[in-house]
Structures are given as structure tokens and as C-alpha cells.
Symmetry: C2
Subunit: 429 residues, 2 copies
């Protein structure tokens, strides 16, 4: 084993950063054997000096100046874990300009400015690795970019946000309301004080953009991803899903339609027999469909300091190996230009729950609206509800535009009190 030492510098020493520092120290010898050199955490930058406490590093290597990491002439590998677009972007570009490879877990930055970062890495001939940006501890980026380089992927369907999966699991298992389940997730540390990024699907949309870019070899940005959150899911929807043989999950779906990419994040019903239906609690899973491999699924902890740190350290080992051998890993694989398909052209099955007045002829009038828009009904359940009634429809695959027109017209009918919910039904027909 070489006695060469690679000196790493970390920017951002929060939950994941401190787990990286500890992991490098605890597994020092294993990592050296695998990397072909020692990897030493030589500098850690964070604005909060309290974060240095208890870490297995020299006090002198802690700084509040991130530039000492990204520009430090003695630093071989930069790890960026502060998150957000700025100053992370400027720091990474400075590291590249100084000839340093970078490991990041920054999904927001990659999903919004991925092209700039990749181009800058290429111009400077250095590596940019980001396994931890999607799926936490689940190996997915490198398997997709490298192991599956002989395959053409057709579709990705993923549970990419652990917070919302935890909330939906609790709503399903014990009948909690969305608000109670969110409060529980917050008290357990699974959800942040401001849960918007998770609950409204922004986090999953960023991850979806990153995986779609890799799968389809064309840049997809966060704003290309259609997005709906889970805050409108009600106990009635959960109950109907169970009764009809589905689970409700916040899905991120990216697919190739002819030469166009379609990417979307929204709650959806999937059949209980689908492998994603049994992904519970805060677990994540990414289900891939390929031309030749058929179905693949990668499952594990999508967040948390220790799982995410293993992904960061795995990337550091790869970069260290590349530095030792004087090579580079796989760079940007977005070598195609593809357009994004408008959401209105999507086809899906739908679940539609409508409150109606309970009088003769109502079902016929509602069914006529579906029919006149070319949306074919697969099944319907009618139940009394107080003075009125509730109708639940599952459609055959239909055009999203036609479905939205159907919903708008239903809302105009005098016999319809409210369209309570519209959910897509995935992976069935």
C-alpha cells in the first residue's frame, strides 16, 4: 500500500460533515487500503466554531474561512456540504480554478446550475462527484453513470424524499392526519421547522432532475420538473387507496417519450404489489426500467448523517484513486440535447374523488363529462356521506390535458359540491 497522503478539506461541518470527519478517522486503515493512499481531513471550515468540538481533528485545522479550504495550496480534495446555491457555487468554482476535485451532496445547486459546474470541472480537468446528492446512502449516481453505461433507461420512478414517505406511512398505518404526522416527523427530526422543501416536493424535484439528466444523457433542471406536494392528501384518500389496493406515495417520475424527457413529482397511487409500495418510513427507493435489464430497484436510507457520509467518503476514495493514477472519473454524461414534454401531454390513470348531491341522475351527468373529454372510467365507488354522496373514480390511461379539462367542467356542474382530490395512478396499465 502506498504511503501517499491525500489531504481533504471540508466546507460545512453540520450533521453530514461531522459524520464524514468521524468516518474518515474511524475507518482510516480500511479506507487507505481501498483508496491506495491515506486520506486525511486536513482542514474544516464552518462559521460556527462550536462545531469543531469533539471532532477527531487538530484544533488548528478548523477555520471560519471557506477560502482556506478551496484555495489552500495543501488541499488535494474539497468536500462541499453547506448546501444551497450560494456561496456553495462560488466556492466549488474556486476549488476547480485551483485544480482541486470536489465532492458535493448539494442537490439544489446541481439541479439548478449543474451545467455550469460540469463545464467548469471539465475545463479544469478535475473530478466532480455527487453520490450523496440523491438517495443519501444508496449507491445510485455511480451505478447509473458507470455500471449501467451499456443500458438505455426508459423510466425512473422513485421515492426520493424520506420525510414525506414517513408522513404518508404514518397516515396509512395509524390513520393520522397530515398535520399530526408532520408534527411527529418534526419532533423526531425527520422534518425541518419549515417543511416546505420536503412537503411541497422541491427536494424530490431537484433529485429527479439530477437522475433524469444522468438517465437520459441530457441536462434537466429543477424548473423542468412538474411538482405537487402532499399537503392536500386527506384521510379519505388514504382510506380509498387501501380499499382499492393501492399505496399513496410521493413519486418522482422521469421518462423518455420518443426523444422528449418528462419529469414530475407528485403524490400518486401505486398498486400494493409494486416494489415501491412496500418502501416504508423514511426509506427511499429508486426503481429503474431499462430496455435490456427490465426492472431494477435501489433501496436504502435516503438521509441522515452516517448514511450520507458513507456516500461522500465513497466519492472521496474514488477521487483519491484517480489522483494516484493520474486519471479522471466519468465526467458529465449529458452529451445530448432533448426537449421537455409539457405536462399536459402526459398520459396516466387517475383517481378522482368528488362530493355530489345525492339525487337521481347524478352519476350519469358526471360520467358524461368524463366521456365527452375522452376519459374512460375504469371503476367507480359511490358512498353516502351526510346529506350528499361521494363518488370515487379510477380512470383508464388518459391525457393529462383532457383530465384537467374534465375536472374544470365537473367543478361547474350544479350537482358537484367539490372535487376533493385528483391523484395520478402509476405503474398499473
Amino acid at each position: 500500500m502506498s504511503e501517499r497522503v491525500m489531504r481533504a478539506g471540508l466546507v460545512g461541518c453540520g450533521t453530514v460533515g461531522s459524520a464524514v470527519v468521524r468516518l474518515l478517522a474511524e475507518h482510516r486503515d480500511d479506507i487507505a487500503a481501498r483508496a491506495g493512499c491515506r486520506i486525511e481531513m486536513a482542514r474544516v471550515a464552518d462559521l460556527d466554531p462550536a462545531r469543531a468540538k469533539g471532532l477527531p481533528i487538530d484544533a488548528a485545522s478548523f477555520t471560519d474561512d471557506a477560502n482556506e479550504v478551496v484555495e489552500g495550496p495543501d488541499i488535494d480534495i474539497v468536500v462541499e456540504l453547506i448546501g444551497g446555491i450560494e456561496p456553495a457555487r462560488t466556492l466549488i468554482l474556486a476549488a476547480f480554478a485551483a485544480g482541486k476535485p470536489v465532492v458535493t451532496a448539494n442537490k439544489e445547486l446541481l439541479a439548478n446550475r449543474g451545467r455550469d459546474l460540469m463545464d467548469a470541472a471539465d475545463e479544469n480537468g478535475v473530478d466532480l462527484y455527487f453520490e450523496a446528492a440523491v438517495g443519501g446512502g444508496i449507491p445510485i449516481i455511480r451505478p447509473m453513470k458507470e455500471s449501467l453505461s451499456g443500458e438505455r433507461l426508459k423510466r425512473i420512478t422513485g421515492i426520493m424524499n424520506g420525510t414525506t414517505n414517513y408522513i404518508l406511512t404514518r397516515m396509512t398505518d395509524v390513520g393520522m392526519s397530515f398535520g399530526d404526522a408532520l408534527a411527529e416527523a418534526q419532533s423526531l427530526g425527520y422534518a425541518e421547522a419549515d417543511p416546505t422543501a420536503d412537503v411541497e416536493g422541491f427536494d424530490a424535484a431537484a433529485k429527479c432532475a439530477i437522475l433524469a439528466s444522468i438517465a437520459f444523457n441530457a441536462r434537466v433542471n429543477a424548473q423542468d420538473v412538474y411538482r405537487e406536494g402532499i399537503s392536500e392528501i386527506g384521510a379519505d384518500d388514504i382510506a380509498y387507496a387501501k380499499r382499492l389496493g393501492y399505496a399513496i406515495k410521493l413519486l418522482a417520475v422521469a421518462e423518455l417519450d420518443a426523444d422528449r424527457i418528462a419529469a414530475r413529482v407528485h403524490p400518486a397511487m401505486i398498486p400494493l404489489s409494486h416494489p415501491l409500495a412496500s418502501v416504508r418510513d423514511s426509506f427511499n427507493a429508486i426503481f429503474l426500467e431499462g430496455e435490456k435489464t427490465g426492472e431494477l430497484m435501489f433501496y436504502g436510507r435516503g438521509a441522515g448523517g452516517d448514511p450520507t457520509a458513507t456516500a461522500v467518503v465513497g466519492d472521496m476514495v474514488a477521487i483519491a484513486r484517480n489522483l494516484v493514477s493520474g486519471s479522471r472519473g466519468v465526467g458529465c454524461t449529458c452529451f445530448l440535447e432533448r426537449t421537455v414534454r409539457p405536462m399536459s401531454e402526459m398520459r396516466s390513470q387517475y383517481y378522482v374523488r368528488v362530493d355530489v348531491v345525492d339525487q337521481p341522475g347524478v352519476l350519469a351527468r358526471i360520467a358524461a363529462v368524463f366521456g365527452s373529454n375522452g376519459v374512460s372510467i375504469k371503476s367507480v365507488v359511490q358512498e353516502g356521506k351526510g346529506e350528499g354522496a361521494q363518488l370515487v373514480f379510477i380512470t383508464h390511461a388518459a391525457n393529462e390535458g383532457a383530465l384537467q379539462k374534465t375536472i374544470a367542467e365537473l367543478r361547474e356542474l350544479s350537482v358537484v359540491e367539490a372535487v376533493q382530490s385528483v391523484l395520478r395512478v402509476e405503474a398499473e396499465e
Copy 2:
């Protein structure tokens, strides 16, 4: 993109080999973009000239002499897909001696002579890649060797043989006997005319040895893996499993116990809530438990020409990239020496089904045998059965040696007509 061309040679043009040839031709441009060079199938060796028919290669590049591939001065990458130990081993060593990197799917060879192959690759400074040897189209070898290089794995639990998983699924779903399900699997091409390698667990044991070697950084050979097949599983066992909340699967388990490795393949009951329980039909899945990542699972098609070919081509792309950059991939990671724990020292829960005479005091006598061996009973079900009765026990975790002694003593009891089956219960306590 470089216009450099890597010339590949294939030895063994059966189902997987011909799928590799077709995949390279169909995805020519995608693969070139990902590899940084063109990859051309320049020579194909097979003893059966009929196999050249319909392949997208020049007739002149087909040969019945494998040495023209492994020694051909114009061949850059050798793909070995003939299987079995000889002549595959001699051919791969000849390729290494000629300075050529090798891709193989040969689990039997790797599990029995892995050390020799790895040493020879190192001595000659060339790559040996084998993603297709375990899990068919599922990326597992490189994720474990590379993405998880920052992690210490504790246990692998896998469904690594699609034939037996198909048979057990059919026995469970429609109540088929083992024989009928095997015959069906044979008629569908999922099982071979001589099903021994699959049904008796030899195939899964070889794969288990390969993954254990990678996970625990120490060489494990096929003969180090304890092995039982599924041919003794009866309809009664399937029925009791369902009733008690379990699925019966042929599991490959490798784990680290202090510094010793334990590896085994046998049918086992796992709780229906475990992610492996819902792996159906001929699918494979590998469930990993790590110190930091917690649980991970990789799921997909474990066999078949096209899925396996994607793994082979993914390896070819990696090797081509290494050749272009003048580097090598991760070589042998068995840098530790570990001993194998004897099976008798394993601890597990057990399911034991016993036919007894139906008379007072029988349960007490049998329970006393468990108790005197220190095997604690967790639950028992008793049912009438013709003149006699059937007792089904689930034990708490117990020592394998103590359990085997219990079974031997039960067989000596006059009130015991037969010990019908003994199955381990995994992943519960």
C-alpha cells in the same frame, strides 16, 4: 469524442454472449460517448459455428479457436462467457499473460479460483471485471467495491438464484408441489434439464462466496459456504409459513462475527414485512446491512441474456475508459485474512415440524428435549393429522449445534414418527 477504437474479443457465444454482441452493435454510439472510444466486437470464438448466424459481425471474425481471441495481438479486451472452471481459467490466464484485461460472468471460476485470477491480473497489471457474475443485470459488484468503500458491511442476505425463487413463488401462490413447479420452470426455460446447480444451492453458494469476499475484504471460496437446497420443502411448510406470517426463500447469507466470516445458503423463513419477502418470480435481490448506512437493497433480474449482457457491456465500458486513460480499476480488495466460522456455532431461530403420535404427554416430552438442549420455544401449533398429530415449533435464537442435537434426540423418541422439516428463521429477532 475520441475516434480511438477498442477491439473486443468474445469467448463463448451462447445466450449472454450473443446478447452482448447485439447490444454493442445496437447501442454503438451511446457506448462510444460513454466510453470515450468506440468498442468493436472484433472476434467471436465458439465451437458451434451455427451461433455466428444472425449476429451483427463479419463472418470472418467468427472462429472456433478461443486462442485467437485471448492471444490475438489485435484484441484489446477479452470477454469470457463459456462458464465452468476449465478451459475458462486457462484462457483468462492466457489473456492476462498477453496483457489483456478480461470481463467475465463466470461465478464458478471466481468462487473456486478467485485468488489465482486476481493475483494473475495484478501481476500483469490488467483489469478483471465481473459485474455479471452475481445478480445478472443488477449493479452490485462495483457498488460494493467502489461506492461503498467508505462503509463496513456487517451482513449480506440475498435471493441470488432466480430459478429457485420462481419455484418457491409458484409453490406459495398456487400451491404447486416442488416437482410440478420445477417442471414448469423447466418448460419456461428458467430451469435447466439438470436443475442440480440451481435447486441444490450450488449457484447461490458461488455467488455468496464472491459477495462475501468483497464485503469482508477476505477471500471466501465456494467450499467455505454451507449449503442446503430447496427440494425437501413441502406444501405443508409453505402453508405453515403463510399462516405464521413468513415467506420461504432460498437465502444466501454472509456475515461477520467478530473477525470470522460465516457464509451459508439454505431455504429459510423470513417475515412477510422484510423487503426480501416481496421479491417474487425469478427476480433477485441483495440486502446489505452496514455499520453506517443501515439497510440497503439492490433488486432486479438475476439472469437472462439481455440483463446479463448490460452488466458485461458496463464492465467493457469501464475497462475501455481505463485503457484510454492508462489507468486500472479497483483490483482485488481481499487484503485481509479471516477464518470461516463453523456452521455449528451459528445462532438462528428455527422452524421445526414434527409428526407425532396423538396421545397425552407427547408435547411435554418433546418440549423437554428442546429445553434440555437450551433451545427456547417461542411458539407452537398443534394439529390433528390422521391417526397422529403434527407439531410446529418456532424457537427463539439458538445455537445451530444445540438445535441439531435436539433434532437427533427427537428422532429417537418413540412418540415421534418423523421430523418432517427444519428451517432457519431469518431477520426476525
